[in-house]
Symmetry: C2
Subunit: 260 residues, 2 copies
């Protein structure tokens, strides 16, 4: 059955969507059948994979609120081996809509369990792109996940938020999903010329040791240009430093998964 | 009575907190009595103004959920003329806690109305730093505000989110707060050498005309170093380009307010 990884950090703008899109594309490029689930009402992962609002007929909103079968929402993308369940703006109201619903935290998990039964579980990886908050959507992703990938910008506010995130992970592990583990911390938008970035990266490696990926994603303007063309950076400019870093990240992820 | 401005954008990491902290400090520096209300569970504005978690006895959580009187929560900061109501991590649960509460969107507005009655309304400005979402916390800020300031990063995803934000503003204006107006859009982390930044800034000015501040906030590492010392950039390094830009922004804001 597929490995489910939630891409999570409640701090905004740290590179969650960029990591979900480009890591998924890199995994697909090395032959891993990969699905991206976009559960952020902003729908940036959907846009970044070329699926505009008009093409989002069935979405993660339907899966989470109306318990729609996952396989009827899966779209192919411009990338071979890569599929997408798009987001919908209405996800913004899910916290209230599920306020009194039974098993509100298990909606994604139930949908993934349903997928496995149908045999379309030929997927190798499922990456869930989360919104910048620790609300019911992110808790749903953490409850369904085998592990979480934490994109971390090398900035002070981003570091400050890490302890809140880890407390929430502990809560989810004890009450909702005992198998949840931190798959890895990925340093993003790294600029080695910047003192603060070097300092944060040293701090994080000291605190979290092997949990921190060796691969760092450098700040690279080509990465931020790609979404405007509805393409992952790996398709928009496969030879830029950003794309190469995500390819390296994918192979490091595979290596880590083999060791476990 | 004080002018209430909500600093809002559901896109994460666009410079909301940095703008709330440094614009407030700049307004205080030119003699405007200013209050920052931190309603983001991350509490970055509180940290950036030197108030750590241990010093946050009464917070915006108490104001919003327990209807605590605002004046009993106001703390002075290291900056003359600048006060803070700190955030609390428990704000993350407010959406659920107020799910069935009457007038859930008016909690901040009621608190501000209470403040005015006590005569401590010698304040000139109140800036509300919002979380990266359009949930009950942000809607509370929009309901209480005279206007909103929208920090906008010159990136594709940030531009994409603008239309969702403006739809929400329209909804709040028709159903909760008829006086709500867009006070201005501030381009943040601007790097003129970057094509994408120039393109986004041209697009935004074409679409929104005079709503866009002339002052742009440049990308400046000193700005991101300051929070690690618990100080606004204007105190940490008053002569850096970032601080100068926020001083310019404050005087442009005052000019705009006079014209209205
Ligand atoms: N390595 C990088 N180099 C340059 N720009 C980057 C890089 N990674 C991400 N970006 C840009 O930074 C911005 C923030 O990244 P992104 O939207 O992926 O973060 P996020 O954590 O998903 O944000 P949100 O919290 O709003 O969901 C985007 O405009 C993106 O294009
Ligand atoms: N002009 C600037 N130059 C350099 N760095 C900046 C600038 N403005 C903000 N930053 C840094 O960028 C990061 C994001 O800014 P900030 O935290 O203020 O955004 P935000 O919109 O409040 O984020 P969130 O959505 O998480 O609340 C922070 O680490 C901040 O220090
Ligand atoms: Mg995102
Ligand atoms: Mg903030």
């Amino acid at each position: 059955t597929p490995r489910v990884l939630a891409v999570v950090n409640q701090k905004g703008g740290v590179g969650k969507t960029t990591t979900a899109i480009n890591l998924a594309t890199a995994l697909a490029a090395i032959g891993q059948k990969t699905l991206v689930m976009d559960i952020d009402p902003q729908g940036n992962a959907s846009t970044g994979l070329g699926v505009g609002p008009a093409d989002r007929k069935k979405t993660t909103y339907d899966v989470i609120v109306d318990e729609e079968k996952l396989q009827s929402t899966i779209l192919s993308t411009l990338v071979p081996n890569l599929w997408l369940v798009p987001a919908h703006y209405d996800l913004a109201g899910v916290e209230l809509e599920l306020a009194n619903a039974p098993r509100r935290s298990y909606r994604i998990k139930q949908a993934l369990d349903g997928l496995t039964k149908t045999g379309t579980d030929k997927l190798d990886y499922i990456l869930i792109d989360c919104p910048p908050s620790l609300n019911v959507l992110t808790v749903n992703a953490l409850t369904a996940a085998d592990g979480l990938i934490v994109p971390l910008q090398c900035e002070f506010f981003a570091l400050e938020g890490l302890s809140q995130l880890l407390r929430t992970v502990d809560l989810v592990r004890t009450s909702l999903n005992p198998k949840l583990a931190i798959q890895g911390i990925v340093l993003t938008m790294y600029d080695g010329r910047n003192n603060l970035a070097r300092q944060v990266s040293t701090d994080v490696r000291q605190h979290f040791g092997d949990l921190v990926y060796n691969t760092m994603i450098p700040r690279n303007v080509r990465i931020s240009e790609a979404p405007g063309f509805g393409k992952p950076a790996l398709i928009y400019d496969h030879s830029c430093v950003g794309s190469k870093a995500y390819m390296k990240l994918a192979s490091e992820l595979i290596k880590r998964e083999k060791i476990e």
